[in-house]
Amino acid sequence: MEQALVIAAHGSHLNAESSTPTFSHADTVRATGAFSEVRESFWKEEPHFREALRTVDAEEVYLVPLFISEGYFTEQVIPREFRLEEWDPELWDSDGTSADVATLTAGDTGQTVHYCGPVGTHDSMSDVIVQRAKSVTDDPDVGDGVGLAVVGHGTERNENSAKAIEYHADRIAEQDRFDEVKALFMDEDPEVDDVTDFFDSEDSEAHSASGRSHGRRPCEDVVVVPLFIADGYHTQEDIPEDMGLCEDYRDGWDVPETVDGHRIWYAGAVGTEPLMADVVLERTADAGADVSAAIEQIRGESGAGPAAGNNLQ
């Protein structure tokens, strides 16, 4: 039976670039030929969530939210707008970062919809963050002597949003690849404004995401990866100004930019990283789609290495 992929993303009424990562990840998946159809759909743009399924011919659809965390959008808006009438958040049985899949029937089209957890909480998202650090520094071996900050919104409107950030920071810290890994937030402690403080002291008092501070030396280089799907106001204006990369975002900043004796490597939303297409595929693989060849292809092209999910080298 033919299987289709529908990607559900937020989109924007104001920012033309918001949909760009969605289109490019969809194109990457499309090029693998793993699905008979790949469709983008949006909350604020068209095709709207409401009308995406009727444009898909396949009877079996994998629906992957291109969102960072579990919460309001993944638990209420998307199921409602896609008319997944039997939906209940219990079906994911998630602790806030462990959503997998629920198989439901769409009320308007009768299609079978495998409703997957969001890309942001999939284990392989940790790989994308590391990949982001590699591409920002242009160093495939980045890690030694380098600190990594994973930055998110914080709990405003959704407590799971902080959980997703901490989850990946912890996972990456466990790999011992970077000297320090921190989860930082825009609207709560530990705040991204003080980013350099957290990588400063020889015997760091700052909270380490892993709970294990190396405490050897300050990290001169700090890679900052914002866990956002698309670039916009937060990633291109707020965070750079908050960190002191620039006085005014319109002036721009260098990569790296020196702040308080640290070199900050910052280049915008992780969601624009090409390897995100792999996370979309991993979500459908976990939901039963036959996409292993496509996953290998994408990971090969991105230089992320062959293994899925847990293998962070």
């Binding site: 033309a16 289109f23 444009t55």
Partner: protein, 359 residues
Amino acid sequence: MDEDPVDALVATAPDGIDFDGLSVEKHADGYTFETPEAVRTGLEEAALRELAAEDAHVGNWYFWHAVAPQTDARWAFLRWLEGAEDHAVPERYDALADGLATEWGQLQVAVSLDGPAGRTYELRHVEDAETPAGELDDHDDPLAARDLAKHDDDGDYRPLKTAPTLQTGWRFPALGAPDIVEAVHAFYPATVQNWHREREGELDIDHWHETVSRQTGIYGVVRTWDRGEGYEHVNWVAEACCDDSQCLKRREWQYDGETELDVDGGDGEFPCREPCSLVIAAARQWTKLEGEQTRTYEFELTPSEKAQVEAIIEAVADGRADDIREADVYDGANRYRTRFLRAKLFDDEGNLAGVETDD
């Protein structure tokens, strides 16, 4: 798909063929081959092949069964593009030989024959109908339409795909049948499917009241705008957003299943089945603004100044403000005229005639 249409016809004849005026059957005494122009019976296979090879009905049958996408909406749309339900094959093939152009919103689709069993579709902006092809940027990939749909001719972002602001200057010179539907989808998402549902009497309309009742989060507030005491506010929304000058969809949603709006839904080819996200986002703002009570302000304006305020509102609402010529001081919404009005009537805080907004 690269099968020969005549081979396909011979292979299918035992099941019987009856399509667009062509009828082919296999009987004990041979084949029958029937079109509105001729009836032949008792044919040997060789004679059938000879007839079939020269008859446009055969290529037409093959195209619609082996080349065109088979899902209902796509198939029906492609049929509609060439008027297939209304025009017999010979007449249609004559028209297709010259290229047959149809409009879909601001798109012009021209269908022409690509051999007897094929079609090719040229897509461009309706306003480029007469533009020489050499002056247009050509694209082959239907997905390129996604980028073209993003900005208007001034480079401004288009949040509403069916706004009548599609940029000009491009062309898809030769799309195949599946790709033309994809390109149309990229310009005007889901319009083909909703148009088809409507033709089948199956359009699932969600009226205003149902749609706002469904909203949660920051949009939940819009529910409070419906107070069960009339729907005038929704008339204003529809007039503001859904008029043909703003959106090419034909608004089919009403206040609710019983209460039609007083505003015309427009003449668009394809329907709108529920208030879109842009309308809901704007309605959220209006819900807040319309919660305010009116109060009486006193201003002194000359009759011409009152008329000028009206002219400015008209010009902005009609998107005409940028088109008013620099020195056209006879137009109340002219920039110099407006700056003069501001210089004369505003105080340092920007209050009209020095009257504070809140007192």
